[in-house]
């Protein structure tokens, strides 16, 4: 056995020393400059013609609270409709059946290719095309009675969202290794069960961040339903400022609510992501 080798000279022992803190003076300078700019903007708003008392008074006004509730109800329901449609359309799009695949592609083309506000107006004015709607012999009603602002907004927002969500879902399903589908088949699963048990749960992991994006977009897109008289928060804020002319104050009220809702949604998305990250490294 060889004796332990002696170490070469000229490399001092620095294990006892600590690393000195860097000065980072450029960061301090940048932070100071930004604070000055923010202070100037803040001062401008304080001195500007905004009656902040109106803002705080209307922030929790009954009509505004009803409005934000309606906004959230619509966003959740329309998103749910959008996700259901999105999953179905994505499965159709990836199907080997050319009829289903073409129908899915056509749906996405139509509803992604026209403005959302136009679609909302079309649903709301459906009575101009079909005065009565129904199933022949079973049920019928006047379209004006059926296409309420609520239903028009739900159909318009949900069906439009379905077109976008289908592409997100399709991306998620394509991201799952084809071997997973084969392994599911090898233990005797049919196509739909393999999708539900094996493919979709894995696709969810990929799909949640973009779906979170889509949902935040949806919360704000509900404001377009104000043009068809759906009483969401922006519509109600507008109604108040038509009466008292405090336009900016009420827009700030509505804007604050949107910001608050979106701020709450972000940590919720984190929780969902963790739930679906099971088994991931």
């Amino acid at each position: 056995m060889r004796a332990a080798p002696t170490l070469a000279e000229g490399f001092p022992d620095i294990s006892g020393m600590t690393v000195a803190r860097q000065a980072h003076w450029r960061r301090w300078l940048a932070a100071a400059a930004i604070l000055v700019v923010l202070a100037a903007i803040g001062r401008a708003f304080v001195n500007g013609q905004i009656e902040w008392t109106y803002v705080s008074r209307f922030l929790t006004a009954k009509v505004i609270l009803e409005g934000i509730t309606n906004t959230m109800v619509m966003a959740v329901l329309a998103m749910a409709l959008g996700i259901v449609l999105g999953v179905v359309v994505a499965i159709m799009r990836l199907s080997s059946n050319p009829v289903l695949a073409s129908v899915a592609a056509g749906y996405t083309w139509l509803f992604r290719g026209t403005p959302l506000i136009l679609q909302l107006l079309l649903w709301f004015n459906l009575a101009l095309v079909f005065p009565t709607i129904g199933i022949p012999g079973l049920w019928s009603a006047r379209a004006v009675d059926v296409m309420t602002p609520f239903l028009s907004a739900l159909l318009g927002l949900g069906i439009n969202q379905g077109a976008y969500t289908s592409e997100v879902m399709r991306a998620g399903m394509l991201s799952v290794d084809v071997g997973q589908y084969e392994a599911a088949q090898a233990i005797g699963m049919g196509r739909l069960r393999a999708l539900r048990r094996i493919i979709l749960p894995q696709a969810m992991r990929v799909v949640i961040p973009p779906l979170g994006n889509e949902f935040i977009g949806m919360v704000k897109a509900t404001s377009l339903a104000s043009v068809i008289q759906y009483p969401e928060v922006l519509h109600n804020a507008e109604n108040i400022y038509y009466a008292n002319s405090r336009v900016i104050e009420l827009l700030i009220v509505a804007g604050s609510w949107y910001l608050l809702v979106v701020s709450i949604l972000t940590p919720l998305q984190m929780l969902l992501e963790r739930r679906f990250a099971r088994g991931a490294l």
Binding site: G179, E182, A184, I187, M189, G190, R278, G279
Partner: protein, 192 residues
């Protein structure tokens, strides 16, 4: 038994211009261990995939336990079986993939019970007990609650073997079983 468990007759398969299988015929008898050996790209995997119908064959026929796979003969012509019928035929074979293809969102135990519970409709607790027994046989009882990403390649392969065995197939298909080889696996996995 006088008939082979698997009878392959004149099976051909082309992928575009490339001929993967050219009139392959062979018999596999119950209890027999048959190894297909050949250069990479010579069609070993394709033949295994044809036996459990992940790949469809162009011509020829495969009989498993006396039953023609994938098609049914009627009036001198062949008619393709429905997806449901093919899934039922597949239950007679167990497949261990070269890359194992464990379900990454399920634990080792859940990987094994998924088929018996979801496909064969067995009771959860029975399937779990049997899965634990299988995991014990492949030496992974302690890893029941581990996710595939927490297992080594060899451990993943053993879970994949247990997953296939849990379906109680008549025939086990191993694609590249030595890629993460386990010493003496046959002694532990074959029914005692």
């Amino acid at each position: 038994m006088t008939r082979p468990l698997v009878a392959i007759r004149s099976v051909s398969k082309n992928f575009g211009e490339f001929q993967a299988l050219n009139r392959v015929s062979l018999d596999v008898w119950a209890g027999e261990v048959l190894c297909l050996i050949g250069a990479s790209g010579s069609g070993k995997t394709t033949l295994l995939r044809c036996i459990n119908q992940l790949t469809s064959i162009d011509s020829g026929g495969i009989w498993l336990d006396g039953e023609l796979l994938g098609v049914r003969e009627e009036g001198g012509r062949l008619h393709r079986l429905t997806e449901r019928q093919i899934a039922r035929q597949r239950l007679k074979t167990g497949m261990v993939f070269q890359r194992f293809n464990l379900f990454p969102h399920k634990t080792a135990l859940e990987n094994i019970t998924e088929g018996p519970v979801q496909v064969q409709g067995r009771k959860q607790e029975d399937a779990r007990a049997e899965a634990m027994e299988l995991l014990g046989r492949v030496g992974l009882a302690a890893k029941a609650d581990a996710y595939p990403s927490q297992l080594s390649g060899g451990q993943q392969q053993r879970v994949a073997i247990a997953r296939a065995l849990a379906m109680k197939p008549m025939l086990m298909l191993f694609d590249e079983p030595t890629s993460a080889s386990i010493p003496n696996w046959s002694a532990r996995c074959s029914p005692s």
